[in-house]
């Protein structure tokens, strides 16, 4: 697997979150995702980037354009040095309809992408990686 391109973005303001959406959208269009798949990826990216801002105290979002024999994809890695998530399993469970949960949107975001990985430790920051392939 090769990384055709990558871009690191600061996530410090809500405008930055919008910027992450734009870049992910542009690269998704380039790779040739269908409109629905584009929307899924951008929406998932929005959830992650916002979490980095709201819960992680700010951080970075790295967008990558991946290529493997036979397919290309878009990956987003959101990293922060914030408080971390103590109970990842619970955070991944849905919390919208009940109004509880940290509103992290992680469980939902996971369903929107092909690959999802999260590394988080209380007091040691969080890194979430999502990937969608064409």
């Amino acid at each position: 697997m090769i990384i055709e391109r990558n871009e690191e973005l600061e996530v410090r303001t809500s405008t930055d979150v919008a910027r992450v959406r734009q870049v992910v959208r542009a690269w998704s269009v380039e790779v040739g995702f269908s409109l629905v798949d584009q929307t899924k990826m951008v929406t998932a990216a929005s959830e992650l980037a916002r979490n980095t801002l709201e819960h992680g105290g700010g951080g970075t979002a790295t967008v990558l354009l991946l290529a493997e024999p036979g397919r290309r994809g878009v990956r987003l890695v959101c990293r922060d040095e914030g408080p971390g998530i103590a109970d990842v399993a619970t955070a991944l469970r849905d919390g919208y309809s009940t109004g509880t949960g940290l509103g992290l949107g992680l469980g939902g975001a996971r369903r929107l992408v092909n690959e999802f990985a999260i590394e988080s430790q209380k007091g040691a920051g969080t890194t979430v990686t999502i990937t969608r392939w064409k």
């Binding site: 303001t13 809500s14 405008t15 979150v17 919008a18 959406r21 734009q22 959208r25 409109l35 629905v36 584009q38 929307t39 899924k40 951008v42 929406t43 929005s46 959830e47 916002r50 849905d94 919208y96 309809s97 509103g103 949107g105 469980g107 939902g108 975001a109 369903r111 929107l112």
Partner: protein
Amino acid sequence: MERIPILKMGQLLLVTIQVDMHDQLALTLQEDLTERISLTGAKGVLIDISSLEVVDSFIGRMLANIAGMARVLDAETVVVGMQPAVAITLVELGLSLPGVRTALNVERGMAFLHGAVDHRLGGPADDHRAE
């Protein structure tokens, strides 16, 4: 500061949300709308999201909040023009937008609001109140 314009049409308030709204702008809209409903005594709010290509949990919550606050102020809300890709994504996300009434387009949305408003006032919605 940039804000999303809110138009008044009789007893109704109309908002067209442009393409990519960042969170701060969304919060401002929420506040502005609540204020305008209160100020004008509007009975209906139509939010046109036909240009919105992404609705994530934040925007979803915003829409639900607006509908909730409007109801408290005795106004009905309808969200129109949701794009298919957005609807599909919302379903996958598990966001059901509870308490948010939707319609296919502005025309249908207006028809619904006029009906709802008439029901409340017992008369046509185009009846202008003295400001």
